[in-house]
């Protein structure tokens, strides 16, 4: 459907602001594709290039091999009826009832009132708001408003749904229900969903692939598990920080760079990128840490069957010199060699000697950890 969405932008306005530098990527049919970036990264401009609400100043956007920037007014009307869109602030008409809001796109397209009503009611059923048809939007909660927004976006039976920060104005519970609805319609209607957000949790929840924008440039893209498990760009790592298990403050305070011969514990971060641990992380592999190890903090997420995450453990400093631990580290450093990263690490993970994809000694805590 979208094959080779390609575009490069100069800047809108006289001052030639670069909203988007040359950005090229493609989105597959039926995907839930996430675009993430900090505010001002150009996400919104990129999204609006798909339905030409903001035409790019250079480059091409191809949908089904048609360059949408070449469409005339009538062509644009047709395009926008095949591409639905929902918004952060819902953008429902306050003067119209829920039914009239959802039905308006059909009405202006000249569909007969009886058919408009039938289709609108079927969609309200789908989003679970059949009983609110005659209510005005002001009387609805945020989640209900977004459901109306979704129904309106689907009313022309589009092939693509654009989501502009669709859950950013909602509370966590409502966000979950809206994301579940998006996942359902993606599966049941075979709709391609393109969503932009600044919240990595949303990406993890629903997306199959993700693209990271920073300062109008594409800095990273790939399957969600890969980008989460092994982020390459600084911007990606910054966006992931809220979801990450950083060193807790009480331990960070006690941390010293070296024990200088005193007894104590080493604090080690084990990172699992998802490359080697497709089924999860076998607990047996952690045995290499020895009997004195303590799991301090962290977690593992399963994304698309890939186990990725970060565990912080404390091990007695003496363990660092044991044969088992050294072996695991060696395997690990081999595994990090470019080119054969996944094969080497994966090969060892099955026989239980590879501890993790990345092992990092963060520091030491002298004496005993409370």
């Amino acid at each position: 459907m979208f094959d080779g969405v390609r575009k490069s932008y100069a800047g809108p306005g006289g001052a030639q602001v670069e909203a988007l530098g040359e950005v090229s990527f493609s989105i597959g049919r039926g995907e839930i594709f996430g675009i993430i970036g900090r505010s001002g990264a150009g996400k919104s401009t990129l999204l609006r290039a798909i339905n030409m609400l903001e035409p790019p100043s250079a480059g091409r956007v191809l949908i089904d091999d048609v360059d949408v920037s070449t469409l005339d007014d009538a062509g644009l009307l047709g395009l926008r009826r095949r591409v639905g869109m929902i918004f952060q602030h819902f953008n429902l008409l306050s003067a119209k009832t829920v039914r009239d809001n959802v039905g308006l796109p059909l009405k202006v397209a000249g569909v007969k009132p009886a058919e408009v009503r039938a289709r609108v009611d079927a969609l309200l059923e789908l989003v679970g708001l059949r009983d609110k048809a005659d209510t005005y939007p002001a009387k609805l909660s945020g989640g209900q408003k977004q459901r109306v927004g979704i129904a309106r976006a689907l009313v022309h039976r589009p092939a693509i749904l654009l989501c502009d920060e669709a859950t950013s104005a909602l509370d966590p519970e409502t966000t979950q229900s809206i994301l579940a609805l998006l996942r359902d319609i993606n599966r049941d209607l075979g709709l391609t969903v393109v969503l932009i957000t600044h919240d990595m949790a949303v990406i993890r929840e629903v997306c199959t692939r993700v693209l990271v924008l920073d300062g109008g440039k594409l800095v990273e893209q790939g399957p969600v598990w890969q980008v989460f498990g092994d982020p390459q760009a600084a911007a990606t790592r910054a966006l992931l920080r809220p979801l990450q298990h950083d060193l807790p403050a009480d331990i960070a305070q006690k941390l010293v760079p070296s024990l200088d011969g005193r007894s104590g514990h080493a604090i080690i971060a084990l990172r699992f990128t998802g490359d080697s641990h497709t089924g999860g992380v076998p607990l047996a592999t952690l045995a290499a840490l020895g009997p004195g190890a303590t799991l301090l903090h962290g977690g593992l997420d399963r994304i698309d069957g890939h186990g990725q995450g970060r565990l912080l453990v404390s091990v007695p400093a003496a363990t660092l010199h044991t044969h088992a631990f050294q072996a695991a580290r060696v395997v690990n450093s081999l595994g990090n060699a470019p080119g054969n990263a996944s094969t080497t690490a994966a090969g060892h993970s099955t026989d239980g000697s590879s501890l993790a994809d990345h092992i990092e000694i963060l520091g030491y805590v002298p004496a005993h950890l409370g």
């Binding site: 339905n51 609400l53 009307l77 047709g78 926008r80 009826r81 591409v83 639905g84 869109m85 918004f87 602030h89 953008n91 429902l92 008409l93 306050s94 003067a95 119209k96 308006l104 796109p105 009405k107 202006v108 397209a109 005005y136 939007p137 002001a138 309106r152 976006a153 009313v155 022309h156 654009l162």
Partner: protein, 218 residues
């Protein structure tokens, strides 16, 4: 109160009603059309025409700057052209309409500009043409403000119609000046004022009621 006097009141009241209602229809429909034109052609509007927009805006401001009593006199040739006379109730309707049209234009324009741009974007994204957006988004969403503006405009018009006595238009204001001021019949003046207060209150309350009826924003 003797009957001929009562007749005078009724006649003056009807004249005021005629002047205000006909002028209001002309000024409000013309003003709304101008406001829509200004909103749509503004930079970032549905059909940006910056130079045309600036020109029209200047014309609107020019008419707003002219005091009604001066406009009344300056308009005399045009009035003669349109209604065939420069005296009487119908002759007052021309300057009244023209004076309040730009005033209402600005009031309506504020309401139209207040319509959330997100709503227009959503309408464009769902395949609405410009005329659909004007009809289904701009006008209905601005309606509460447009109605409130009408109330303000009509009340302003009731006030301005008093000055129309200068061209022999009659009406309540004329009655108050001729009897109350020139003949020192203070009672007539107070009675006219009481009628005007009642009239203005009715317009105000009706306007507020309608504005509430069409406002679904909360």
């Amino acid at each position: 109160m003797s009957l001929p006097i009562l007749d005078k009141y009724i006649q003056a009241f009807l004249e005021t009603l005629l002047m205000v209602s006909v002028s209001a229809v002309i000024a409000i429909s013309g003003g709304l059309l101008l406001a829509l034109t200004l909103t749509v052609t503004a930079g970032g509007g549905l059909l940006p025409k910056p130079r045309f927009n600036r020109g029209l805006s200047i014309v609107v401001n020019m008419f707003r700057a002219i005091p009604f009593i001066i406009l009344l006199v300056a308009m005399l040739p045009l009035t003669r052209l349109i209604v065939g006379t420069t005296l009487g109730t119908w002759a007052a309707i021309v300057p009244l309409s023209i004076s309040l049209m730009p005033y209402y234009t600005r009031i309506a324009q504020v309401s139209l500009n207040d319509v959330d741009r997100g709503l227009i974007e959503a309408a464009r994204a769902s395949g609405c043409r410009r005329r659909d957006i004007v009809r289904h988004v701009l006008l209905p969403e601005a309606l509460p403000g447009i109605v409130t503006g009408m109330t303000v405009c009509i009340i302003g018009m009731i006030g301005a119609s008093a000055m129309a006595g200068a061209v022999g238009a009659g009406g309540l204001g004329d009655l108050a000046i001729r009897y109350g001021y020139e003949r020192y019949e203070t009672r007539v003046m107070f009675e006219v004022i009481a009628i005007l207060i009642a009239l203005v209150s009715i317009v105000q309350f009706t306007g507020e009621w309608i504005a509430r009826k069409v406002d679904h924003r909360r």
